[in-house]
Structures are given as structure tokens and as C-alpha cells.
């Protein structure tokens, strides 16, 4: 297993290193035949759609997790937990279809919004589950203490339970981001991809994974090299996020 990991990563670095330089991160894609060019617009596009996805999924996810952890004893909460697992298991391409029917068809255009919503749906169950687990780790005595001094339950939940698990929630969010960052399938026909600078969420938008896919299935060698370089960059970012998550969870729970 170690061998597989080393082989895949090493090969990625070996093939991609030649294309990684400053302009790779700052330039727009160039047509085949022209030297240079980069994936700057894809990096920016990925970042914009992730921000949209976080703004949508983080508040929803945290509030939902508060319900499950603080009020969720009955059959309905149990059902919601099961449905959260179902949501996490829906193939991401199906989430893409949903975002397409929900946003692309009414707007009559592929758009960054649709991509952001698709990513939000993918992040939501991860955020709900990790946040619920973090909230449950807060000792019951802290809640009781708050209630005993006469604070209403909502104040106790917000000021004590939530406040003391902020770092855990941040960790869960990082995990969700690292999952959404590499998702390609749900972006193929929502954000579509673009070779232009796009900060307009109502227009098709480039993203790193879709750019890798486009380059990988193209017949041009120079694009293949860009695909390797972009894949290496993407995997490096995801690994850093994962290692940070591990470090944070370890220092918290010994």
C-alpha cells in the first residue's frame, strides 16, 4: 500500500515538475502550440466555488448538528442521522445532475453558482457528522453548569457548547473542503469549465479538477504535462489539509 502511494505520487511529481513554475500559477491557459500558460483561472474558480459552498453548507450543517446533538433523541433525529449518511453516500455525479436540474435549467446557463451548490451538497453531510461528534464530546457537566446558573438552553448551547468546540468544527470544515476540492464529476455539467478569467458566478467557471480532466483526455503532450502539474498541486493541497486535520484532532484528544 505504501508502494502504491509512493508510485502514484512520485510519478505525478516526476511528470508534472517540468510544468510547475510561477506562470503556471498566475497565467491563463494558452491554446495548444503556444508555450507557457497556466491554470490561474482554475485555481481562482475552485476557490470561489468553495467559498460559495462553505457559506451555504457551514451554517446549515452546524445548526443541523446542534439539533442532532442537543435535541436529537427521538425517532425523527435518528431518521435524520440515517438520511445524512444516505446523503454522504449519493454518488457525486448524481449530485451534479440535481444541481443541473435545480439551477442550470432555470438559469439557462452553466454557472459558478450551480458548481458551488453541488459542492455544498457534498460538504453538508461531512460537516453535520463531524460537528455533531464534536458537540457530543463537550462534557454534560458544562451544560448543566450553564443551566444551573439560570442561562436559557440556547445561551448555554451557543456560548458554552458551541464555543468550546469551535476548533473541532473548523477541523470538520477543513475535512469537508478537502473532499470538495477534488470533486470533478459534480462540476462537469454545472460549472462546466472555462478558459477565461471568471469571477462572475452566473457564468461558466473553471476549476482545478475539471481542468485536469480536460487536459488529461486531450491528445496534446504539452497539455498532458499541465494535467500532471495541476494534479500534483491539487493532491499536495489536499494532503496538507488532511495532515493539518490529523494534527488538530490529535492535539485535542491526546
Amino acid at each position: 500500500m505504501i508502494a502504491v502511494l509512493v508510485i502514484i505520487l512520485g510519478y505525478m511529481l516526476y511528470r508534472g515538475i517540468g510544468a510547475i513554475n510561477v506562470s503556471f500559477f498566475t497565467d491563463l491557459p494558452k491554446p495548444v502550440g503556444e508555450p507557457g500558460g497556466g491554470i490561474a483561472n482554475a485555481i481562482v474558480g475552485s476557490a470561489i466555488m468553495l467559498v460559495v459552498a462553505i457559506l451555504l453548507s457551514l451554517p446549515i450543517g452546524v445548526l443541523a448538528a446542534i439539533y442532532l446533538s442537543e435535541f436529537g433523541h427521538g425517532w425523527f433525529a435518528q431518521t435524520l442521522r440515517f438520511l445524512t449518511d444516505v446523503l454522504a453516500g449519493i454518488p457525486s455525479i448524481v449530485v451534479g445532475i440535481f444541481a443541473y436540474t435545480l439551477i442550470v435549467i432555470p438559469m439557462r446557463s452553466f454557472s459558478g453558482w450551480a458548481g458551488g451548490v453541488a459542492l455544498a451538497i457534498i460538504m453538508l453531510p461531512v460537516i453535520i457528522r463531524t460537528t455533531e461528534e464534536m458537540l457530543r464530546l463537550v462534557p454534560q457537566s458544562l451544560r448543566d453548569g450553564g443551566l444551573a446558573v439560570g442561562a436559557p438552553k440556547w445561551r448555554v448551547t451557543v456560548d458554552i457548547v458551541l464555543a468550546s468546540s469551535i476548533s473541532g468544527i473548523a477541523t470538520g470544515t477543513l475535512l469537508a473542503i478537502s473532499r470538495a476540492l477534488g470533486e470533478t464529476a459534480p462540476l462537469l455539467f454545472t460549472a462546466l469549465g472555462s478558459s477565461l478569467w471568471t469571477t462572475n458566478l452566473e457564468r461558466p467557471m473553471a476549476s482545478m479538477p475539471v481542468q485536469i480532466y480536460t487536459y488529461a483526455i486531450s491528445p496534446y503532450d504539452e497539455w498532458h504535462q499541465k494535467a500532471w502539474a495541476a494534479a500534483f498541486t491539487l493532491v499536495a493541497i489536499i494532503f496538507v489539509l488532511n495532515v493539518v486535520v490529523r494534527f488538530l484532532t490529535r492535539s485535542k484528544h491526546g
Binding site: V4, Y11, M12, Y67, Y213
Partner: protein, 326 residues
């Protein structure tokens, strides 16, 4: 699983709840409940939207859609069987390759590995393997695995097992077998992690007892396996669920041809990969609706498979909060 103690006072009437001192809590509970319910709304909306947007295809082809073998968009013939078949064959191949390795690694990690590398090193590796995006596996698949299969693995298979129709016929590198191999690499982490959790949940006296009675390591592990079987099956089914829904890597190495062939060397197609590959080309309504209907099928299949896996893993690890992917 600790449940915060519920307040034991008598339930409040509506009027009491609306008193200022309780109003905050009442609203807070209502708001969080509303957001939690969004998960339910989301899933219902997803099904509703997809079914509504596949109506044309459903009305035209009915249930025959699943068993029809011809997929010919220009002729407006749409049958899903080639994709269902492709998904089943690639997933089974992936499991055949991945299950022995995953279980061996899980046993090694749980019982045999030196303590120092047991949890930190191996679980980090498995997590990193699981974190590599599908498209990166696909890229590696196109440029490394496909040529390797075409020039090394497939010729060997043909010369040794070529008498069976499975390993006969021309080999392009792109094809069912290659897709199965890449899926195997991708599902190994999840099967390994869940199996490891299941094995760790087996009470240690089961194994200790066997060892105390003079059983060898191997015999002791067989005892543990009897105990852990439902959970291991659950882990395998979770891997299956992942394989069924996997899209990008498969699309990039399977060859994308809607044929039902026995030879594992020939190109084929899966449900997920046909959606990924043809969705933006579907200019006609009926074509789009047929693709979305495949999406509905994929949703249904992965739901059933995953629910079964969850039940098994939960049964095997009763009370412990493990076995959830993610």
C-alpha cells in the same frame, strides 16, 4: 453513545412555551430543527427533480429501459443494460482484487504490525490514499496503468488464460479490466479502514481464549473472523457502494463504448461514466432524460447497497461510533 440527559420536567404547554423566558429556547429548537430537516428536504427534492426530469424517457421506455441493450442516441434508442452490466462487472472485478488485500492489511494492522506503526503510520497512509481525488487516479490510469495493462498484464493473461472468453480478443489497454483494477485501488482504503474498525471491536477475549487453548495465530484469527463476519461483509459492501458510484477514474480508463461483451479486455461503459461523458452532449430532451433516468437508477442502487452495509457494520460494531465513511 452518550445521550445528554433530557430534562425530566413535565412537557410544557404551548402557552408556557410562548412565555418570554421559554420563547428563546422554543425558537432555538425550532430553528435548529428546521435546518436539520433540510437534509430530508434535500433528498426528497433530489428524487423529485430527477424523476421529473427523466419523465420523457420513463414514459417512452417504461421498465424496459433497464433491460434494453441498444444505446444509440442518433436513432433515439435508449437502453440502460450495457451500463448496468458494465457497472456490475467492474465493481465485482474491483472487489475480487481489493477484498483479499484489504482484509490482509486490516488483520496485519490490528494484530501483527509493530505497535509503533500500527495506528499512526498505517491509518495516515490509508487516509491519504482515500483522499487522492478520483480525477488524479484517472490521470495516472490513462498514462501509467493503461499502457502497463496493454503491454504487460493483458498479454500475459491472454497467453495463460486466453482459452476462456474472458481474456480473449484484442486488448487496447482501455477497457473493463483496467477499470476494475483502478477501482480496486480506490476501494481498498475504505474496505481496509472499516474492516480494521470491525476487527478492533471484536472482544479481545475471543482471540485470547483461542490462543490460550493452544490455537495458532492463524486459527485464532479464524475465530475472530467468525465473530466479525457481518461487519467484514458490511465493509465489503461499503466498498461496493463506492465502486458503483465512482465516476471520473472509470470514465477515463474504461474506453466508453456501450457494448455488452464477455471479454474483459474490450471497452465498455458504466452508469456513472455514461452520465459524465455524454451529459453535455445531450442536445435533445429525450437523450437528456434518458441520462437522468440512469442517474435515478444509480441513486436507487447506491442507496440500497449502502443501507445494507450500514446495517451490517452497525450490527457488528454495536454501540460504537465507527464504520461510517468520511
Amino acid at each position: 453513545m452518550d445521550t445528554p440527559a433530557e430534562q425530566t420536567s413535565a412537557p410544557l404547554t404551548i402557552l408556557e412555551r410562548l412565555r418570554p423566558s421559554h420563547l428563546g429556547d422554543f425558537l432555538f429548537r425550532a430553528i435548529t430543527l428546521a435546518f436539520a430537516s433540510l437534509v430530508l428536504v434535500l433528498i426528497v427534492a433530489m428524487l423529485f427533480e430527477m424523476i421529473q426530469n427523466s419523465m420523457l424517457s420513463f414514459q417512452k421506455f417504461g421498465f424496459g429501459f433497464i433491460t434494453a441493450t441498444v444505446w444509440d442516441p442518433p436513432a433515439r434508442e435508449f437502453g440502460a443494460l450495457p451500463f448496468v452490466y458494465g457497472t456490475i462487472v467492474t465493481s465485482i472485478l474491483a472487489l475480487i482484487l481489493a477484498v483479499p488485500i484489504s482484509i490482509a492489511v486490516a488483520v496485519f494492522v490490528t494484530y501483527q504490525a509493530p505497535m509503533a506503526i500500527r495506528r499512526p503510520v498505517i491509518s495516515l497512509l490509508v487516509e491519504l490514499l482515500a483522499a487522492i481525488p478520483s480525477v488524479a487516479y484517472g490521470l495516472w490510469g490513462i498514462f501509467v496503468l493503461v499502457p502497463f495493462m496493454r503491454e504487460t498484464v493483458n498479454p500475459v493473461l491472454r497467453s495463460t488464460l486466453g482459452f476462456t472468453p474472458l481474456f480473449d480478443g484484442p486488448s487496447f489497454g482501455l477497457g473493463t479490466l483496467t477499470a476494475g483494477v483502478i477501482l480496486a485501488i480506490m476501494v481498498t482504503p475504505i474496505i481496509t479502514t472499516v474492516s480494521r474498525d470491525v476487527l478492533a471491536a471484536v472482544p479481545s477475549h475471543q482471540r485470547d481464549g483461542a490462543l490460550a487453548l493452544g490455537a495458532t495465530q492463524w486459527e485464532a484469527i479464524r475465530v475472530v473472523f467468525t465473530y466479525a463476519l457481518p461487519g467484514i461483509v458490511g465493509a465489503i459492501i461499503l466498498g461496493l457502494a463506492r465502486a458503483i458510484g465512482e465516476t471520473m477514474a472509470v470514465t477515463m480508463v474504461i474506453g466508453n463504448r456501450p457494448d455488452i461483451t464477455v471479454s474483459l479486455f474490450s471497452p465498455s461503459y458504466t452508469m456513472a461514466s455514461v452520465i459524465a461523458n455524454e451529459f453535455t452532449e445531450a442536445t435533445e430532451q429525450i437523450y437528456l432524460h434518458a441520462l437522468i433516468e440512469i442517474g435515478v437508477l444509480l441513486f436507487a442502487v447506491s442507496f440500497v447497497v449502502r443501507a445494507a452495509a450500514q446495517l451490517l457494520v452497525r450490527y457488528a460494531t454495536r454501540g460504537r461510533n465507527i464504520g461510517r465513511e468520511g
